[in-house]
Amino acid sequence: MTAPDDAVATPEAGVGEPDDAVTLPVAARRPAATPEAGESTPDTGDVPDAGDTAGTPEAGDTADAADAADASGASDASGVEAGAGEACPRCGSSVHPGEFFCEGCGQPLDGAGCVRCGPAPVDPEGYCELCGLRQPSESDHAETEAGGAAGVSDRGLRHSRNEDAMALVAADGVTIGVVCDGVSSSPRPETASSAAARTGATVLLEALRSGADPVTATRTALAGAATAVAALGSSVDDAPACTYVSALVGTDRVTIGWAGDSRAYWLGAAPTPPPVPGTDSDTGPMPVPDSDSDTGPMLSPVSGSDPGPVPLRGPALLTEDDVVSPGLLSAWLGVDAGRITAHVGEFAPEGPGVVLVCSDGLWGYLEEAADLAPFTARDTPLEAARALVRHALAAGGRDNVTVLVIPFHPPPV
């Protein structure tokens, strides 16, 4: 076991530790390189500055929110510099012996060539030079953990690449998770989702650190992500686009922001109380204390009056899809998106549970909060996320599927 791998925090290690663990995409490593929980615990515990990329000396010295937010599948804060001095044959990035995808260019290592025809070389764009097959890439299946939370993103069975992206950050006692789903009818959608997830998580943490309240920070992050995605397009005819949902899980409340049809759910661990007469079922969408503020890329967030968090008990959907009709989005991030209405909701769980953030690749198969809850009731967050992804794949895997599972622990009374 080598030093950089120790940086991967297991869920067990993260819970109750100083919540500093921003982690590496597990899929970029051979399974054999996955560390044992016991090995990672001391390292993560020793890192004093919350928000560091755990255990990587170089990153630790310079860690800021930007580094911390690079926990998605396309991480570049993963300490490849600490490797044994090998270099990627395509892009020259240094490569750690335990990796089978280059973290610089994302292409398979080992000079293994094409996954279909064997020794044939693969060109820098990822196509086999003999049979033309697009090679599987690092983002096809990515896993991430931070603090006690975990996320899994998978290409699915019917798409040739993963256009979803996720970011997971645990720092300063809060956990931030962002899921973005590239709009497949837009050009280069994977660049949009990747930029949005990374930027969203980074900006959210920065805003909190500069003193913003959770709702304002969530809006600021969505605006920042929208700006980043808009910058990828040259015109409305060349506009990479994606959805966005962020979850900020603190010690007393959960703050959700979104545009599009990626979702967040509350899956309370406590048994669902009997419905109170005169109120809606717990499993329906929550009333959204919505902001009507426009957070188009050019706009700064508008601070409105805070209606106070909505109480949460049993399993519930926390977001409302921005759709015109099934499958047709009414809101997205992209230079062609016009004015974006940022939805922000603030919730106060009345007991422990998890916040589940996901793309439609999951909820397309498993929509009801009550049906999702059993997956997270017993397993660790990583196992729960894996089980949910497996469920979506077993059900057909028609779309990319991304799941973040973020535990909520109320403060001790």
């Binding site: 025809c117 764009e125 196509y127 086999c128 003999l130 049979c131 033309g132 097959l133 697009r134 069975l157 019917r158 798409h159 040739s160 690449r161 256009e163 979803d164 789903d181 590239g182 709009v183 497949s184 009818s185 837009s186 959608p189 409305v236 005819d237 506009a239 686009a241 994606c242 959805t243 599009g260 049809d261 990626s262 759709v323 015109v324 009709s325 499958g327 047709l328 989005l329 009414s330 997205w332 062609d336 793309s359 439609d360 690749g361 779309d399 990319n400």
Partner: protein, 439 residues
């Protein structure tokens, strides 16, 4: 030369194939922009002007042809190498009097005009011989933008074998724009010249228009900044290029011009380029893949054969899906240019049937062609068709016009290679209120 036009390659396709699907269609739009005109002034150019001097050119036609050739010579930029050839059953260089080409300047232009005044109409027509002489003259200037103008008024007297051999001999050595004047020449013959030598063919209905037309051809040639550009197409193992056609501004099939670059890659010549846009329709066949797999079905590069420089590149992809909504969608570009190619076929079949006396087939084909031309926005071709076939506004029935001017028929035959550029549909994605599903 570091300064050259900027080439862009845009690829329009639907990459989704149904399970078992093997054929991929893509529209490649190649645009050259930037300092083409300024650059062209520094580019070596070589021009041969071929004027039909057969017996049928007698009278006013030879007078107009002399003036047109003279105007062409006057339009040449100083320093351009040029010669004037008189075409009969032989090919005779009438200027310069010494070997090879001569540089254009005030004196040589005047001498060329003097030589043209002596041009007499007498003898037969041997277009293959004329082109062979042009190739020989231009061979001394391998790095130049090499071009010929060919004017004829009659059918070629050479056998098809002799003519084809001459075209094959000349292919790739220069670009030739040819024009027919009068109504006794064969549009199909000049179309062969245009296809083989990557130029245009056209009809000069009124000999008085020759001068303007020649001047425009030279101006266009003087704007060429890159002598030769090739489309380099890689296809995967067990795949192949089914066809590669230029579809705009005119139709021209490049499929047979492939020169193998390596076992998986072929180069297709496109001739010389100024600031202009051309569109190609590429069809490739690949082995069927599994649902969810994506392959690069073709890797298209635009290359300068003289320097090996890659000017632009792009991928034609194939991805298999069991979602019929995805795989049955036809890209707007493919649909449009497939329609334009069909329009050409309908006109050629219709004119052929009409010439053979099969009026039912002629009526059906030309009637359909006229509707297709109108629907696809090809107004020029629609106007040419209207001279040959009329459509009853009440019943919509097509009827051949009883008496058709021979010149109208030739104009339609010649003009059928011209396609309409695709109109951008305002209802295209990007302007709609919603976006289709993510992921």
């Amino acid at each position: 030369m570091s300064d050259q036009p900027l080439f862009t390659l845009d690829i329009d396709q639907n990459k989704y194939l149904p399970t078992g699907g093997r054929e991929i269609h893509a529209i490649l739009t190649v645009e050259a922009t930037g300092p083409a005109e300024r650059v062209a002034a520094d580019v070596e150019a070589a021009e041969v002007i071929i004027v039909d001097a057969s017996g049928s050119m007698g009278g006013s036609k030879i007078v107009e042809a002399r003036q047109a050739a003279q105007a062409a010579v006057e339009t040449l930029r100083d320093g351009t190498y040029f010669a004037v050839v008189a075409g009969t059953h032989e090919a005779t260089k009438i200027y310069p009097h010494r070997a090879g080409l001569v540089r254009a300047d005030g004196r040589t232009r005047k001498d060329a005009a003097q030589a043209l005044r002596g041009l007499r109409a007498d003898g037969g027509t041997a277009i293959g011989k004329w082109l062979r002489l042009a190739a020989e003259l231009l061979a001394d200037h391998p790095r130049a933008v090499r071009h010929a103008i060919l004017l004829t008024d009659g059918q070629n007297n050479e056998s098809a074998e002799v003519f084809d051999a001459a075209l094959a001999h000349c292919a790739g050595t220069f670009v030739c724009d040819s024009r027919g004047v009068g109504t006794d020449w064969a549009p199909a013959e000049l179309r062969k010249v245009a296809d083989a030598l990557l130029g245009t063919s056209g009809f000069i209905r009124d000999a008085r228009d020759l001068t303007d037309n020649f001047r425009m051809m030279i101006e266009s040639m003087m704007g060429k900044a890159v002598a030769e550009v090739a489309l380099r197409v890689w296809t995967p193992q067990h795949g192949r290029v089914k066809h590669l056609k230029q579809v705009s501004p005119t139709l021209s099939d490049l499929t047979g011009m492939r020169a193998a670059a390596d076992p998986l890659t072929g180069d297709y010549p496109t001739g010389s380029w100024g600031a202009e846009t051309r569109v190609y329709h590429l069809c490739v066949e690949v082995p069927a893949g599994a649902v969810g797999q994506e392959v690069r079905g073709a890797w298209v590069r635009l290359v300068r054969p003289d320097t090996g420089e890659i000017l632009a590149r792009g991928n034609v992809l194939a991805q298999w899906t069991d979602d019929l909504a995805l795989s049955t969608r036809v890209s707007p570009g493919v649909a449009h240019y497939t329609g334009q190619a069909e329009l050409f076929d309908l006109i050629q079949e219709g004119l052929g049937a009409r010439a053979a006396g099969d009026l039912d087939t002629a009526t059906a084909r030309l009637g359909r062609a006229r509707r297709l031309a109108e629907e696809s926005g090809n107004d020029d071709t629609a106007k040419l068709l209207a001279k040959v076939v009329e459509i009853d506004s009440g019943t919509g029935t097509a009827r051949l016009r009883r008496s058709v001017d021979k010149a109208d028929e030739i104009a339609l035959d010649t003009g059928s290679v011209r396609t309409a550029r695709m109109r951008r549909d305002p209802g295209e994605p990007g302007s709609s209120d919603g976006r289709s599903p993510a992921g």
